[in-house]
């Protein structure tokens, strides 16, 4: 991957992340932390690729480990966030 | 010889207002009119003679009125004062057109052209001449103050070291000009104010002042912004719903009037009997008979430990401002017709025609003729 392009993407993504969080009420700090925790669960995709392309048993083992961890990150992160944000439901009527 | 306007001292009992104040005197003078005033005619309103610039002072009634073209008054003239009016002169004031046949006859006998400001049509253009409104404001404000001063309780809520005082409950009946002002005054002082009026539009107006409307389900919109008389059943329905509100009130202020008629009796003897001990009624309609059955005009009656006040001539309690407003009403009424020191009235103008009571020796106002018979 072109390093320069990646840098541009880094910059824009960082800017986007920053903009989204700026001026968030304290009440959302924990859910947002949890939500962003879920989002980096996307690492499971990377782990899947790694495992999918693993060549040795060691690689497979680590890859398996990575996929399981990543999947836990994604699934657990989603459920926890969803449940936390459920609190806001009743008030928004 | 330029137009001469004359103002004598008001002689009616307890009347402290005056029809000419220094400010309007200056303005009339600027229009080229000559002004004559009886000595100390403004003193009860706290306007001293030296305050008037460009006004001639005359020692007595006769000297004041002699040869005047226009007579400015607050109250209707007494027989003696009518006798002093120059024949054919123009008279403007709150002439109580429905009060006395004799007075009308006397005015006509002297061929006085009389304008009764009570008759002023309520069109937009005439609002600045509307003495009923201006004096009604004063009356409503004074009613509120009397109610607060006579009430044996605080109006506002007060949380104090010696306990919490609950706000007084005030009920205002009749939300015309005066009633609204009474509502505003009581609200300002912190009372919980409810109000009632038969006119449907009054609800929004009452609520616009932050007071609560007492809904009785009876509406009585009449012509020209005034209320019509209610039927017997309507009165009964109204009375029932009102009785409840009255029974809860610490203070009841009544301002319901119907022009040219005796004021409706809204608070009956029986309703007074159900009121709280120590409650008070301030009946602003006392002048036209009172909205409370027990009201004695000008007196203070106690019944069942309820104090019923029937104050008269409320604007005279604040003569400085009441006179100022009234004098400006007169100025606004008259000034359009004064040009270069002469009077040129357009008799077909709707305001002029509507207000005209007598002219050329006859009562000309239709409604007054209807009520009083030809005089």
């Amino acid at each position: 991957m072109d390093g320069m392009l990646a840098l541009y993407i880094f910059m824009l993504a960082a800017f986007t992340g920053y903009e989204i969080i700026a001026k968030v009420p304290v009440i959302l700090h924990t859910p947002l932390m949890s939500g962003s925790n879920f989002i980096h669960g996307i690492v499971v995709v990377g782990a899947m690729i790694v495992l999918g392309l693993a060549e040795t048993p060691l690689q497979q083992a680590i890859g398996f480990f990575a996929v399981a961890l990543g999947a836990a990150n994604a699934a657990g992160g989603y459920v926890v966030t969803e449940r936390m944000l459920g609190m806001f439901k009743k008030k928004e009527g | 010889m330029p137009l001469t306007l004359a103002t004598a001292r008001e002689t009616a009992d307890g009347e402290c207002r005056t029809a000419l104040v220094p400010e309007t005197a200056k303005k009339f003078a600027a229009l080229g009119a000559r002004l004559r005033m009886e000595q100390s005619a403004g003193v009860q309103s706290h306007f001293l003679d030296p305050d008037y610039v460009g006004v001639d002072f005359a020692p007595g009634l006769a000297e004041t009125y002699a040869g005047a073209d226009v007579i400015l008054r607050v109250t209707p003239p007494s027989p003696a004062e009518i006798a002093a009016l120059p024949e054919g002169a123009l008279l403007i004031g709150l002439l109580k057109p429905y009060e006395s046949k004799e007075r009308l006859a006397a005015l006509n006998a002297r061929r006085i052209t009389a304008f009764a400001l009570e008759l002023l049509p309520r069109v937009s253009r005439a609002q600045s001449m509307d003495a009923l409104s201006s004096q009604g404001s004063c009356a409503g404000y004074q009613c509120g103050l009397i109610a607060a001063a006579r009430c044996t309780k605080f109006f506002p809520m007060l949380t104090t070291a010696a306990g919490t005082i609950r706000p007084a409950r005030v009920l205002v009946i009749g939300a015309g000009v005066a009633g609204l002002q009474a509502i505003a005054t009581c609200k300002r002082l912190g009372a919980m104010v409810e109000a009632y009026d038969v006119r449907a539009a009054a609800r929004e107006q009452i609520e616009s002042l932050g007071a609560k409307f007492v809904d009785t389900g009876v509406s009585a919109d009449g012509a020209g912004g005034y209320a019509r008389e209610l039927s017997a059943e309507e009165k009964a329905a109204q009375a029932e719903k009102l009785a409840k509100a009255v029974a809860q009130a610490d203070v009841v202020i009544t301002t319901a009037a119907i022009p040219g008629k005796r004021a409706p009796v809204i608070i009956t003897n029986e309703m007074v009997g159900r009121m709280k001990y120590g409650a008070i009624i301030v009946d602003m309609a006392a002048e036209s008979g009172g909205n409370c059955a027990l009201t004695q005009p000008g007196e203070h009656v106690v019944a069942n430990d309820v104090n019923i006040h029937g104050p008269l001539n409320l604007p005279s309690r604040m003569p400085t401002h009441a006179s100022e407003l009234y004098a400006k009403n007169l100025y606004n009424f008259l000034s359009p017709w004064i040009k270069d020191g002469t009077l040129a009235i357009d008799w077909s103008d709707e305001i002029v025609a509507g207000t005209l009571l007598c002219r050329d020796g006859a009562t000309v106002h239709t409604l007054v003729k209807q009520v009083m018979g030809d005089a």
């Binding site: 990646a6 925790n37 989002i39 690492v43 782990a47 836990a72 990150n73 992160g77 806001f88 | 070291a161």
Partner: protein
Amino acid sequence: MTLPLYVQGAWFGGALLFIVGLKGMSSPASARRGIVVAGYGMLLAIAATFLIPGLQNLALIALALAIGGGGAWLSAQKVKMTDMPQMVAIYNGMGGGAAAAIAAVEFAKGDAHGLVATTLATLGALIGAVSFTGSCVAWAKLQGVLKKAWRLPAQNAVNVLLALLSLGLGLAVIGLAPQQPELVIAFFVVALVLGLVVTLPIGGADMPVVISLFNAFTGLAVGFEGYVLGNPALIIAGIVVGAAGTLLTQLMAKAMNRPLSNILFTPMVASGPGEAISGTMKEVGAIDAAAMMRYAAKVIIVPGYGMAVAHAQHKVWEMTSILEEAGVEVKFAIHPVAGRMPGHMNVLLAEAGVPYDKIFDLEEINAEFGQADVALVIGANDVVNPSARTDKASPIYGMPILDADKAQNVIVIKRGKGTGYSGVENALFYTDNCRMLYGDAQPMAGEIIQHLKSMG
């Protein structure tokens, strides 16, 4: 490896949905929709990954997904609401671990990626590993598995040393490509230990901030590994979370009134005993105050002389109206001698248009503080001073007071450290559930209003 367009497109869609979802989560009104949107993004990205041609070990992948995902899904469903924070910690740690593992596999493969990629892989591995063990410790602490604060003699020195060592090993890993297994293993071990050691001494109260920091770490690690894998979806999701998480960590630290460095390097020690009034005054921002009230069921406002001095009554009433529109029950508690004349507060509240039925005196309301989520004390002091109940030496001893301290949370608006009429210190301000909002009452109420409005 060039991937088919539909896989890349799906990943792109996933990244887009993440951003949209995260944006949604930043406002209470749309937060729930936000996580659902992000969830679809995740499903899309994972599903597409299966479609990569030539992907092997599909069964293994599915198994790992089922074990990791299924297990986490079930346990997350069951956990109590109060245990949520540690769950966030542990799932976050797993993400970090996954990132580190990806790096490990890449090292194991020994593919030449070029300097930039190797550097990023190593960096990602380092912070991923730190985040992994650190999060595990955070979980253990919050879960109560690890109870006592575990502190080395020269903690900060050890921290720095370990950090330098791991960096050094990392540089070696980068420099000495193709990687030697021993070096790589040593690197990972040190990184994992670093995470442990750094986190162990930190107190439970500071944990949420630390978890947030590790969350940002994991984001960065994922972003870096995304670069290594040439996967922009990972990059974007990771970096967005990294940036958002960093800012969030700062905001959280600020909300706790502790600089981040303080939390990491000088863990709080319990304050010494035996002072007349113990504890510290904890500051709070207007936005926090607004949020606390906005999501409360019941708020009791205690106005005092300061509200009068600031002429804040109109603002206070506006704030009340907004809260009530949002479904919060708000009452005013008037102390008999609040202000400087009998009925002082009544006059002002009436001026602002507060209806009488929201105003309660001490006897009427004192029992209700226990059920209030927030007691908002605006420019009052003596009338909420608990020492009037207990301290016989206090000049206000024996005066009945409003039991604001019984509320779940207390927020006190005042300008500074000024005392009230009686001139005595107020123990309320030092209690655990009390937060100080410093400033003149009028602009402060205004700020709260503004924040309340932005919360919709």
